[in-house]
């Protein structure tokens, strides 16, 4: 997947930046870091969604009924499925992170510093948690494995656009940009980009006017600007946490309603 990203997206970005600054190995590294940040945020969603196949299979085969007649709360059953997805999502994301680091180093970049690595891992865990709750909510509306396959295809496709991974946010029309900025999962992409690219952006845009760097950050979804105001990273964290709480509550209510 990294190779596909590199082939289709890397050159487009490098060409665009070359118009304002010189193409250097640091530039390639920066673009690669942008790519892997998007890839990792998407993987958090797709891997956890895959883990929810068990929940759908249990529902379709009525295996859930066996748990529902046991003296455990509906919330516990729900949380078990989320926990399962979270653990699987974490494992895959960490493996993917190692793969991404190998890719960056093999293309001339440097390993993340220890503090940046801790930050990236923290954001990844948060992303996986958000994705687990988000997918649990989606799966509540699916009752067959066929429908689940369709859902997975749709999520996998739409996600790339809604997180500004396939196409940079800046090239989209205004309403699409707003849609992305209001989409909570895209904030995990933004946070990962910031964590990954902090030093490489400084290196690449070191000798050019600050407005070029700001323009790049806006166009490539490294910062969001909503209604003329820049969305701070703290706001992104808050959006993610509120979404987790809201979706978890909604999911438990819906699951309880569906399963007495």
């Amino acid at each position: 997947m990294i190779v596909l990203y590199a082939i289709f997206l890397q050159k487009m970005q490098v060409d665009a930046i070359e118009q304002v600054t010189e193409a250097t190995p640091e530039l390639i590294t920066m673009v690669n870091e942008w790519l892997v940040a998007g890839l990792l945020s998407m993987m958090a969603v797709t891997t956890t969604l895959g883990a929810f196949a068990i929940a759908v299979r249990d529902m379709e085969s009525k295996a859930t009924a066996d748990f529902l007649t046991a003296p455990i709360s509906r919330a516990t059953i729900q949380i078990s499925y989320v926990l399962n997805a979270f653990i699987i999502g974490c494992l895959f994301s960490l493996v993917a992170l190692i793969g991404c680091e190998i890719f960056i180093v093999s293309t001339g970049g440097e390993l993340l510093s220890f503090s940046a690595l801790i930050k990236v891992i923290g954001i990844l865990l948060l992303s996986v948690f958000l994705a687990s709750v988000f997918n649990m909510f989606l799966v509540l509306f699916v009752s067959t494995q066929n429908a689940f396959s369709t859902l997975s295809t749709i999520v996998g496709t739409v996600l790339g656009f809604l997180c500004g991974v396939y196409v940079p946010v800046g090239v989209l029309p205004g309403f699409a940009q707003q849609l992305i900025m209001y989409f909570p999962i895209s904030h995990t992409t933004l946070l990962l980009r910031n964590a990954f690219m902090e030093s490489s952006i400084a290196n690449v845009f070191g000798g050019v006017p600050a407005e070029h760097m700001e323009s790049y950050k806006l166009n490539y979804g490294i910062i969001y600007e909503l209604n003329g105001h820049t969305v701070s990273l703290t706001t992104s964290y808050i959006i993610i946490l509120i979404t987790i709480v809201l979706l978890a509550l909604l999911s438990i209510i819906i699951f309880k309603k569906k399963n007495h």
Binding site: S61, K62, A65, D66, F67, L68, T69, A70, P71, H260
Partner: protein, 311 residues
């Protein structure tokens, strides 16, 4: 008399469609209760309500003294019941032992209690030969034994069996029933059964027949057989014309198939009297007792003109 289950005017509707139409019944503690009905009669809906899987629309249900749908009571009801579903629902990749112990943990049992209970159910259901096998590799009959063991691991007071022997060979069915009856006799457990095999219902203490969401017959198997079934003689005469003459003289209605005359009688004693008088004319005979099959077919054949229902 103590009742394990008390159902009063239970109703369940899906939108405007009434699946269960105000049924009431009581199940005596320690009894084997058979709940019969054709597909779509409302059996599964009722069982799902009793097992806390489905919310009732109205009516009251008490299980082991706990009121269904009372928030604090539902967990207690779940602790006191075991359910064997129509489908096999354990994890295909775990062994029988792992499956049963894993599900047992959901009842909050200590490790020691769980091991003790496992030994108990294993003895009754002869799990020794399959306990280390993966559930997915078992035959239908072996899976059923594991399913029943899973339902019993917390030693419930009521065991719900939703068509437990469907698809099993006669030998396995017999084994399953022996185990259940032995357990019931020794532990005073109440068994609530739905089945399509009428011979299984024939050994129940009480039977209810459901049709289109309503109870259309209830009582002991004997009482139902007396009311809805009939005994029958199958007679083969040495001489057909003499046989016909005897039937006419005794004003006995009959049907004839392949030279065999089928004659309904009110009881086996009546049959005995008639057979004595016909003895010189008979080449062979058979007296057939009324069965639960007859009861079921008779009841199902009675139309009541109401709408169908979900099951």
């Amino acid at each position: 008399m103590t009742f394990a289950i008390q159902v009063d005017h239970l109703q369940k509707h899906y939108g405007e469609h009434l699946a269960v139409r105000g049924i009431s019944f009581k199940v005596e503690q320690g009894s084997l209760f058979a709940f019969l009905g054709a597909n779509g009669a409302g059996k599964s809906t009722t069982i799902e309500i009793l097992c806390t899987l489905l919310q009732k629309s109205s009516g009251t249900v008490t299980i082991n003294g706990y009121t269904l749908d009372d928030k604090s009571h539902n967990a207690k009801i779940r602790k006191s019941i075991g359910v064997v579903f129509q489908q096999s629902l354990l994890d295909e990749r775990l062994t029988v032992r792992e499956n049963i112990l894993h599900r047992g943990k959901t009842y909050g049992l200590s490790k020691a209690q769980l091991t003790k209970n496992y030994q108990f159910v294993s003895t009754y259901l002869h799990l020794d030969d399959i306990e280390l096998q993966k559930y997915g590799t078992l035959s239908g009959g072996q899976k059923r034994r594991a399913d029943i063991a899973r339902a019993l691991i917390h030693r419930p007071q009521i065991l719900f069996l939703d068509e437990p022997t469907t698809g099993l060979d006669p030998q396995t069915r017999q084994f399953v029933w022996q185990a259940i009856k032995q357990l019931q006799a020794e532990t005073n457990m109440t068994v609530f059964l739905t089945t399509h095999y009428m011979e299984e219902a024939a050994v129940a203490h009480q039977v209810i027949v459901l049709k289109q969401g309503r109870i259309v017959a209830e009582g002991t198997p004997d009482a139902l057989k007396t009311k809805y079934a009939y005994d029958q003689m199958a007679l083969v005469f040495h001489d057909r014309s003499l046989g016909l003459k005897w039937l006419k003289e005794n004003t006995l209605p009959y049907t004839e198939k392949l030279g065999i005359f089928y004659v309904r009688v009110s009881s086996t004693l009546t049959a005995l009297t008639l057979l004595k008088s016909a003895e010189p004319l008979l080449a062979s005979f058979e007296v057939m007792k009324g069965t639960m099959d007859d009861v079921f077919i008779h009841i199902m054949a009675q139309g009541d003109g109401t709408n169908g229902s979900n099951d």
